[in-house]
């Protein structure tokens, strides 16, 4: 009974090394075949069978580490000059298979009590020969900077220690990915129905629109790459689906239904982000990172309402409602800028993010507080200026259950400059259309609060579920009263840049 705890420790100790399945030692294992093929039994014995020239190998792996055996097999004389054991023609893989076989003979693998050596001083002669292969470590850092080289090995540690739980669910942070790490993220946003009257802007028009439902769903695919511990590259591919379900009630006409209910899916503008970490909380009171992004004009910006929706009056007079409502913004009936998949021109943004992590002794325990601002420049194109966009957020992330579940609470503010449309439009009046400058479609500040749950079954996988709720409508234009978002993230641990040899 009293031995058991000790055995446990012994087993843990051995398990810290490579601990293959004990089945590897069975007779049909490749290691065993190799063991027989290479004639090891000529000199060594296993289970009482074999030669007596060399030591019995029954418990050799109790006495030596797998790494030692692996090195030994490469060139026995290099480890112990004068040994009678020859250098066998073995490939690296052969040697590994033989070591796995020998580990399988280990006493703990056979359910026996492991041998823990006594503390008697080792009898070997002192070996302080710097040229001995075991003293290779003396060259560590002399040929290649060990510190620089070590950066490439950071990913294991970062991935197993920074809980992704501290990262915000959908906002940004000052964290960067470890070098070589690749992360793929995708998210689906389901946007609540936008109020028809906000969209149509009936005040300026003098028109009233009833039951105009615009449903849009967004899919985002993101690819992240850790370049160096200071830089992360991100490519964002937005895909959006729009669906319109509308009834219109233009001035002086009876309500009309819109038909058919249009729907389309487009790839939006692909953005490339480069994030640089300026300060880490290790050196500075908080982490600080900046981002520069380029928005490529990959999404089309000439989506037309009329393409999707036509409306007829009960009398069948063939009024094209889309044109009637939206021609106010462009001569050819294009949708206003916020409803286009793309900007049609090159844009860009610049942002700053801060992150402060807390240990468990803070007011709220362990967690992180992120904040940041992103300013997006959206140049005009073809007479349409979508207006620049400023986004500001504050996010608190708080692990709730162990390292697997955390809560994210975010405040999000967006401020959009009013968009502008070139030209004049006709407003129908009883005496005939009156030409006026085209009105703005959207603009002003919108505020949301959001709560998310972040679930990470392991540090590489992450699921997020977010509900955003609007607390303040923009001055002009439509905005969804709520957004529901689902995200999935996977990080590849292996990395692209494996460390080189330092010897």
């Amino acid at each position: 009974m009293k031995r058991r705890a000790f055995d446990l420790i012994g087993a843990v100790m051995l398990a810290g090394l490579v601990l293959p399945n004990a089945a590897m030692a069975t007779d049909d294992s490749p290691g065993h075949k190799l063991f027989l093929e290479k004639g090891c039994l000529g000199c060594h014995s296993v289970g009482g069978q074999g030669g007596q020239v060399g030591p019995s190998l029954d418990q050799v792996a109790d006495r030596y580490t797998p790494e030692w055996l692996y090195t030994w097999l490469r060139d026995p004389a290099a480890v112990k000059p004068g040994t009678v054991m020859p250098k066998l023609p073995l490939t690296d893989e052969d040697r590994a298979l033989l070591v796995f076989y020998l580990i399988g003979l280990r006493s703990d693998a056979k359910g026996e009590v492991p041998v823990v050596a006594s503390a008697d001083a080792p009898a070997d002669a002192p070996d302080l020969d710097p040229d001995s292969p075991e003293n290779d470590y003396l060259d560590l850092g002399t040929k290649e900077s060990y510190v620089g080289e070590q950066r490439h090995t950071l990913q294991d540690q970062v991935q197993s220690f920074i809980p992704p739980l501290y990262e915000p669910a959908f906002t940004q942070s000052a964290f960067v990915l470890p070098p070589g790490a690749v992360r793929i993220a995708s998210a689906y946003r389901h946007v609540g129905t936008i109020d028809a009257n906000d969209v149509a802007g009936e005040r300026e028009l003098g028109a009233r629109v009833l039951d105009f439902d615009l449903k849009r769903q967004f899919y985002d695919v993101d690819l992240f790459l850790g370049l160096d511990h200071n830089f992360t590259l991100r490519v964002n591919v937005p895909i959006l689906t729009s669906q319109v379900d509308a009834k219109l009630n233009p001035a002086f006409f009876s309500p009309v239904s819109v038909f058919p209910q249009g729907s389309s899916t487009d790839v939006g503008d692909i953005s490339v982000f480069l994030k640089k970490k300026f300060f880490d909380q290790g050196n500075f009171p908080f982490g600080l990172a900046g981002v520069l992004a380029l928005r490529l004009p990959t999404g089309e910006n000439d989506a037309k309402f009329s393409r999707r929706v036509t409306a007829t009056t009960p009398m069948g007079s063939g009024l094209v409602a889309g044109d009637g409502v939206f021609r106010r913004f462009s001569d050819d009936g294009r949708l206003p800028a916020p409803l286009q998949p793309g900007l049609g021109t090159l844009g860009g943004s610049v942002g700053l993010f801060t992150t402060r992590q807390f240990d468990e002794h803070g007011l709220v325990g362990r967690g992180a507080l992120h904040s940041g601002a992103l300013y997006e420049v959206r140049p005009q194109d073809d007479g349409i200026d979508p207006g620049n966009l400023l986004t500001y957020f504050v996010t608190g992330v708080k692990p709730l259950i162990g390292d697997n579940l955390s809560l994210d609470v975010t405040y999000l503010l967006t401020y959009q400059e009013e968009d502008e449309y070139a030209g004049l439009t006709g407003i129908p009046t009883p005496t005939g259309p009156v030409l006026v400058p085209r009105p703005s479609f959207s603009g002003g500040a919108t505020q949301f609060v959001a709560t998310s749950l972040i679930f990470t079954p392991n540090p590489l996988f992450r699921f997020t579920a977010t509900g955003l709720f609007r607390i303040d409508e923009p001055r002009l234009g439509g905005s969804p009263p709520w957004v529901f978002r689902l995200g999935l993230t996977y990080t590849f641990a292996s990395g692209l840049f494996q460390s080189g040899e330092w010897q």
Binding site: M1, R4, A5, F6, L8, I9, V12, M13, G16, L17, V18, P20, D62, Y64, T65, P66, Y70, A96, V99, F100, V116, A117, S118, A119, D120, A121, P122, D124, P126, D127, L128, P130, S132, N135, Y137, L138, D139, L140, T142, S145, Y146, V147, G148, R151, T153, L154, Q157, F161, I162, Y166, D280, Q281, G282, N283, G287, F358, D359, E360, H361, R366
Partner: protein, 774 residues
């Protein structure tokens, strides 16, 4: 049975006695099956009021300065149990002096140890050893093989995995500890300074094992990461490494056994010491490897680096065995700035380093020379000592905890630093305090730098026995520096702060610390050269120091004889303790020993420089919980009762001051009531023997005396003889010059009365197996 075997028998009995006689509950750790392993015991406070002048100090800077505090911790360690044992070997009158015993064996020992444990395991004030090359190398070895195993679904191992599942498990197995301390973070590169206030309240809640949580789990003993100066200063790292090595040597100088594992010999004086010593060793190897692999300054490499837009020098690794300054100078720069990555629950990790101050400081180089020499002495396979069990050839499978090959690293680094000291700091045979890549060697040397260099060089001469050529060069330097000190002394043998090289023109103040350092340096030179001129010079300086600077009312050395304001940094206190200690040992003068006691109590206890303390120096948790935050009433509070909202860690402050003027701080002496003189054997035992043999003879550093085979079988005269003459070489001092014959007689009767309890008798313990037969 020859005496050596007898000693080993005693040790074996001692070790088994620790386990056999321990009480259950809060003093022990439990195995899952209920078996107990005793951990280190608290000590009761001894009355030191008669050594207090009544003047108390005021802390003016509570920050922890790694270099200064660790230097004080090192000098204090040497003034602790080691000092006590050396005094007893020299026949100094140390018996029946519970105050001296308490000061050296308890306060000096523990205050020093508190500092190391705080920095190296609790504070997280530095880059964790878990990120260091030592564990990295182990992980890579495993990965080399894992390349082939990965196909079979096995993940590659990280440093953390290696640390927790391989290294820590083997330390536990080899030392007989059932469990490790939670949230202990060994540090590899310490930061320059930090604020030792705790960031949260110390968790005193009693756990199911009967102990307060903070004892087993260091989570609530962390310092604020934000309030650390994250510069890495080489002196701080070197002094801390020296501290780690000194403690590892102490912790692992003996083995112990455990009756539950017959035939097993475990490393360490006891299980806890063994585990701590193993971790210290790992931490020190990590430090050396990290510095060797990337923190040497290359003065030929200048570029815009992290310090942009200023050019800075490159950092590189060296092969310390092949290194020669002639093939390109590489040296330890004064300050390095790390670029860190903060990972919240994980020890902070480095990403890059840049040279912040490319000066080579003699103090830094001497600290490193001392630390690496000490490590080599520890790992040296040619010395037949217990440390040969710590280092092995197939770690951990041969029972060792550290690879023998790192002896070569320490030896190479010591040689490298010695060569660099000669190359950079030597001007006409005298060492100068600083060297810069732009202007090369300076023209000044401070007495403090020179003294530390002398101590380190003398240590090299004494311990680097595999380097006769290096020893010769070091000895030459020792003679050169000591001669310089003798030459520049004023006519009254006093010293100023610094001197020009080579002219010897003085500069700076003539202060107490310079005298103390000069004494320390000269006596170190005397130790290895036996040149009586140095002894004479040290004694003469000692006279000036003790006459002109000693304040007879305050029992302190004044910085300046004419200044009533006394300011001490840890270095000042360390210099004073070191000089007094070495003077006592060199002169056997009991009045100096008395002065040592007074200075210690005033400068360390009454000054406030020791900011708080733990159970081992008198605090009683039951009373602390009841609200008495200085439960032993010695003026040094328990940790949670220290300065600040949550208390402050038990480390040295950066600066304290006393006002000895008319309006100065004087207070009533706070200390427990005086104790009666010893009249019984038990009392003699408690005052003289308990420190080593434990309360009631349960054993501690020394063997257990309960049911001790030697004591019981040898008979009264044999035991009397042993107490009187001591046991040479194993730390049992001779007591004949210390205790009267009556007292020895009383204590022997007491020892002989220590029999096993019925329970132990039923278990048949202890066995006294001689594991040490060769």
């Amino acid at each position: 049975m020859n005496s050596r075997n007898l000693v080993f028998l005693l040790m074996a009995v001692a070790a088994s006695g620790i386990v056999a006689s321990q009480a259950s509950g809060s003093d022990s750790l439990s195995w899952p099956d209920g078996r107990q392993v005793r951990i280190v015991q608290p000590n009761p406070q001894v009355d030191l009021s008669s050594l207090r002048s009544g003047v108390v100090g005021r802390v003016t800077d509570r920050r922890f300065n790694t270099n200064q505090a660790m230097y004080l911790a090192n000098e204090m360690y040497l003034a602790g149990t080691e000092f006590f044992l050396r005094m007893s070997e020299q026949g100094l009158p140390i018996g029946n002096d519970p105050q001296l015993s308490f000061i050296t064996n308890v306060e000096a020992y523990w205050y020093s140890r508190y500092n190391l444990v705080s920095v190296n395991a609790r504070s997280r004030m530095g880059i964790g050893a878990i990120h260091g090359p030592y564990l990295d190398l182990l992980a890579r070895e495993a990965q080399d093989l894992n390349r082939f195993g990965r196909a079979r679904g096995e993940l590659s191992v990280s440093n953390k995995d290696v640390m927790l599942t391989q290294v820590m498990a083997s330390y536990l197995a080899r030392t007989g500890m059932p469990e490790k301390f939670e949230n202990a973070v060994p540090v590899m590169l310490e930061f320059q300074s930090g604020d030792p206030h705790f960031t949260t309240s110390v968790d005193l809640e009693v756990q199911s094992n009967g102990r307060a949580r903070y004892i087993d789990d260091f989570e609530t003993l962390r310092w604020s990461h934000d309030r650390m100066d994250k510069t890495i200063d080489m002196a701080g790292v070197g002094q801390t490494m020296l501290k780690k090595v000194l403690w590892a040597k102490f912790f692992l100088r003996r083995n112990h056994t455990d009756e539950d594992f017959p035939g097993q010999v475990f490393l360490g004086n006891n299980a806890e010491d063994g585990l701590r010593g193993s971790i210290m060793t790992m931490s020190a190897v990590s430090t050396m490897l990290m510095v060797k692999a990337g923190l040497f300054c290359d003065p030929s490499d200048t570029a815009y680096r992290l310090s942009w837009p200023i050019r800075s020098y490159g950092l590189t690794g060296i092969n310390p065995v092949a290194y020669s300054p002639a093939e390109g100078l590489r040296y330890l720069p004064h300050e390095v700035r790390p670029v860190l990555i903060y990972m919240n629950d994980m020890p902070v990790r480095h990403y890059d380093f840049a040279v912040q101050d490319a000066t080579s400081a003699l103090w830094d180089q001497a600290s490193w020379l001392w630390a690496t020499t000490e490590f080599f002495d520890y790992a040296n396979p040619r010395h037949q000592d217990n440390w040969n069990r710590v280092f092995g050839y197939q770690t951990p499978y041969d029972g060792s905890v550290m690879e023998q090959k790192y002896a070569l690293l320490a030896r190479g680094l010591a040689n490298t630093v010695l060569s660099n000291i000669e190359e950079m700091h030597e001007v006409h045979g005298v060492l100068v305090s600083s060297w810069t890549p732009e202007e090369h060697a300076g023209d000044r040397v401070s007495v403090s730098d020179l003294a530390l260099a002398l101590v380190a060089l003398a240590n090299f001469v004494e311990k680097m026995d595999l380097e006769p050529e290096g020893q010769r060069r070091a000895r030459e330097l020792v003679v050169g520096q000591a001669d310089f000190l003798v030459r520049v002394a004023a006519s009254d043998a006093s010293y100023h702060e610094s001197y020009s090289v080579p002219s010897g023109a003085e500069s700076g103040r003539r202060n107490m610390t310079s005298q103390a350092f000069a004494i320390r340096g000269l006596l170190a030179a005397y130790d290895v050269t036996d040149d009586p001129r140095y002894l004479e010079a040290a004694k003469r300086t000692g006279v000036v120091w003790n006459e002109a600077f000693w304040d007879e009312q305050a029992w302190l050395y004044r910085n300046d004889p004419d200044d009533t304001r006394v300011v001490y940094t840890p270095v000042d206190v360390a210099a004073g303790l070191g000089a007094l200690r070495e003077l006592v040992l060199a002169t056997n003068d009991p009045t100096l020993l008395e002065r040592f006691k007074r200075f210690f109590v005033q400068a360390v206890d009454a000054s406030g420089i020791m900011q708080s303390e733990d159970r081992f120096t008198g605090e009683d948790l039951a009373r602390v919980r009841a609200g008495n935050l200085d439960s032993d009433n010695d003026g040094i509070p328990f940790m949670s009762g220290g300065d600040g909202r949550n208390g402050i860690d038990s480390v040295f402050a950066s600066s304290v001051e006393f006002d000895l003027g008319a309006g100065g701080l004087r207070s009533g002496v706070r200390a427990p009531a005086p104790l009666p003189a010893p009249t019984t054997g038990a009392e003699v035992y408690r005052l003289n023997c308990e420190v080593c043999h434990g309360p009631g003879g349960v054993g501690n550093e020394g063997p257990s005396l309960i049911n001790n085979q030697f004591v019981q079988l040898t008979g009264r005269p044999g035991v009397m003889q042993t107490v009187a003459s001591g046991r040479v070489g194993v730390g049992m001092p001779a007591w004949e010059n210390v205790l009267s014959e009556t007292e020895i007689s009383l204590v022997v009767d007491f020892i002989r009365s220590l029999k096993a309890t019925e329970r132990q008798a039923a278990l048949g313990a202890p066995t006294g197996i001689d594991h040490e037969k060769k």
